[in-house]
């Protein structure tokens, strides 16, 4: 079979942990104890230039024992899941928490670990396909990517993740979540003399099954990638001037992520990340007041879109996940903060207290953060632009530690002149400052332009954690933005 299913994980590891018994076996006097077990298998199948580059699986399995003592949480994460080892881990976590409680940043109670019971299951149509069938699709896709003599390198990838998470606590929580994540990735690099350009398709990560690798759909995508990469070789350089900017939803992914998502994570606002990911230009007093964007900007935290990458039933504190408006009609309403941050800040938040795995403590993460569709069709957006540029697919990203000054680059762009797309340009970039940029949002595309994307590589936290995030958005138009080309 292609991937490690929960059944095959069980086959390799033998019997699955009985968390209830493990919890009962713990012999410490803490105010609260929680056990979070995570089993995650990640398989990469990669073909580069018609040869196999990787056929690799990583199976990560462990348990975090978390305890609350004197208002301070302490943890011990262990790869040894015997009952005795878990009891010893709890004792060590207790000592950590007790010693740290003399210097606690905030005295928590078990109210930040609510009782939750239930199950979550990712949607999928096909759990498995035969490995040789997948390899055939990847090889054929690679042939299509290399459909021109100007293509000098092409890569086809399947990333398949099967994850099971089980949580139990002394205040009655008992829930499990089963996720299936797939991430197809295709890229072609084209060369003509000293000109090199590339085109890719990597960010449509979602919760789904192996139906994503249906061959006809994959080959059609790869044909476009090849054609675009070759087209860029003869394209003019992106001009340097201020003009209107239309962003495809695959670039809106990054735009939302960097200039809204991270800025609104409440733990950043509270200063937890100041030594690593950074702070935020948003202050606690801005909630309910700050005009973050124009009146047509509506941002939601939405874990309810079934196929979106970071949908789930509960966060890692046990809080049930629900859809909430973060920004409504351009006004900032709510922060991206889990229960710990909500208690520290007195700001309304969401269920986003998440850890990347069993060996990291949860922190505020943005999960699914979406821009709600508006009412403009794609044609209406383009025809409204006198002079502008339409950019697709991120290739470069950077933003300051307060989430203000950003610079993003895309793979592919087309100039818009007098309401019509005229010609393709290469090396497109733009730069701006977050709130002026969002206040320049002039048109929001309708449901027909709305698409769901995600990435598995959102980095944050000390110790570092990379988590999955989802971003869905329509195509959008921004007014009078600084645009520029390559080196």
């Amino acid at each position: 079979m292609l991937i490690l299913t929960s059944a095959s994980i069980k086959k390799i590891y033998g019997k699955i942990m009985n968390l209830k018994k493990a919890l009962e076996n713990i012999n410490i006097q803490a105010d609260w104890i929680g056990l979070r077990e995570v089993k995650e298998s990640t398989t990469y199948r990669i073909i580069r230039d018609l040869n196999p580059e990787s056929n690799n699986t990583v199976l990560d399995h462990g348990i975090m024992v978390e305890v609350l003592v004197n208002g301070q949480f302490g943890y011990f994460a262990t790869n040894n899941m015997s009952y005795d080892a878990i009891n010893q881990a709890a004792k060590n976590a207790y000592t950590q928490a007790l010693n740290a409680s003399k210097y606690s940043l905030y005295p928590f109670t078990k109210s930040v670990r609510p009782k939750s019971v239930g199950k979550y299951q990712s949607p999928y149509q096909k759990k498995n396909i035969p490995l040789d069938e997948l390899m055939e699709t990847l090889i054929n896709s690679n042939k299509v990517l290399r459909g021109s003599k100007k293509i000098v390198s092409a890569i086809s990838m399947a990333r398949i993740v099967d994850m099971e998470m089980n949580f139990i606590s002394t205040n009655g929580s008992e829930f499990s979540q089963n996720f299936m994540y797939v991430g197809p990735g295709f890229r072609a690099i084209a060369q003509d003399g000293n000109i090199v350009q590339s085109r890719s398709y990597t960010d449509q990560c979602m919760q789904a099954g192996m139906e994503v690798f249906e061959q006809e759909r994959v080959l059609s995508k790869c044909e476009t990638i090849c054609k675009d990469a070759v087209e860029l070789l003869s394209a003019d350089e992106c001009p340097t001037e201020k003009m209107d900017l239309v962003l495809h939803s695959d670039q809106m992914l990054l735009q939302i992520h960097e200039s809204i998502g991270h800025a609104l994570e409440v733990d950043r606002i509270l200063g937890d990340e100041r030594n690593y990911a950074g702070w935020s230009f948003v202050n606690l007093e801005d909630f309910g007041k700050l005009k973050y964007g124009s009146d047509i900007m509506n941002i939601t935290f939405d874990p309810t879109i079934p196929e979106e990458f970071a949908s789930y039933g509960f966060d890692d504190s046990g809080l049930k996940a629900t859809k909430e408006f973060i920004i409504k009609d351009g006004v900032l309403l709510r922060g991206l903060g889990g229960l710990e941050s909500q208690e520290r800040s007195n700001i309304d938040g969401v269920a986003n207290f998440r850890a990347c795995s069993w060996n990291r403590a949860p922190i505020d993460r943005m999960a699914n953060l979406n821009l709600e569709p508006g009412d403009s069709s794609f044609d209406e957006i383009i025809s409204s632009v006198e002079k502008g540029i339409y950019m697709q697919t991120n290739r470069s990203w950077s933003i300051d530690d307060f989430r203000n000054k950003f610079q993003f680059g895309c793979e592919y762009a087309q100039l818009i002149e007098n309401g019509q797309i005229t010609k393709t340009v290469k090396n497109p970039n733009y730069r701006a400052v977050s709130t002026p940029f969002w206040n320049s949002l002039k048109m929001v595309g309708n449901q027909d332009t709305f698409d769901v994307y995600g990435t598995p590589y959102c980095g944050k936290g000390e110790p570092n954690q990379g988590v999955r995030v989802g971003h869905a958005s329509p195509t959008c138009l921004f007014n009078n933005i600084e645009i520029f080309g390559g080196a």
Partner: protein, 440 residues
Amino acid sequence: MDQYFNQLNKFLFSLLTKDEILNNSMWGENSQFIRINNSKIRQTGIVKDLSYSMQLIANKKQVSYSSTITGILDTDQSTLKSILNKLRLDITQVPEDPFIVYPQTTNCSEEKHKGELIPFEDSIKMLMPVMQGTDLTGLWASGLIYTGVANSLGQTHWFETETFSLDYSLITKNQKMVKDCFAGTHWNQKEYENYITSSKKKLNLMEKDAIKIDPGKYKTYIAPAGVSDIIDMFSWGGMSEASLQQKDSALLKMRNENVKLSPCFTLEEDFSSGMVPRFNSQGEIAPENLPLIMKGTLKNTLVSTRTEKEYGIKTNYASEGESLRSPRVGLGNLQEDQILKTINNGVYLSNLHYLNWSDRLGGRITGMTRYACFYVENGDIVAPIENMRFDDTIYNIFGDELNSVTSFEQLIPDVGTYDGRNFGGNYCPGILLNNFSLTL
């Protein structure tokens, strides 16, 4: 844990048929993390992790599998035997790989760097008192990390080290910051307390109100920590020979158009510090010293044996991803006490932040200034500057605009912890640029 690694290897190798080769590795850590915000403890805990990887080679094909293991011999033997059987099924269904790197039979090694670390239960009482009264935010990480590689043809390597680091920012009331890192292998309480006290003194410089400078080109000093960030970019579509061959490297101009950097710039891989293993995941030993860019000229790239097989360029036993593992930038003549005077009018940047290629093939990098960055006038620091975005090419930074390189270097420890605590760090001097483009 090396003995445990050997026991598992011996068990698995005994299960192989004559046509099968196994290349195995193991990685583990026993680490304490204390997350600090405003000199208080935000989160704390211990992570005990252990994983074992197997690469099965047979019939010109290869498949691999890595799994967390428990450290309990019977359980792990049973788990790994199941994985081996799964690999045997998978390998029949994948295509032949013409570039398989077959393991070697020679060059065994063992390095164990025993440190003197604070016991986990004592860390808080030894770390926290000296920082009280200031806003310190950061991460304490400490403990044992280890890795080994072995193959069924008889080769074994082992590396383990005990290290600690307190990576932190000190922060003023007006949100200005100084970054420092106290790291090592042998704890000395007095040295630690002096280090924190010295950081607090640096913070005094940040108390002045920040000034806003206009975008433009500035004479600029970039301190070693900032240079280290730029050097890290060479591991991402830079020094990799495979990246060059696949036309995806920022150094293509150096390879194809014979573009040179400044004669003041030298970069090499230097494993002499012993901070990182010299062996790669195939068990191959890198040369202790590998010149990469010498006085501005590209001399060598990082070439893995897989790349050698694919492109016919001789391997220098780089890692699978052909990234820098122990980089060192060559020193110059600029004395520390001459830096401000030589800037005269310009900016002094202690750290950079969030670097990315803005045009990789053009060698152009964008990023931000961060932490203690100052405007300098007539050779004196005037005030901190508000954060600025930069966007400039390595061909300017280490080429046409490189004025001088400092006569001193700093070890910038790698405190990354994404998949576990990292080994090693970068040795970098500071650099002075005649012009550096600040854009926003």
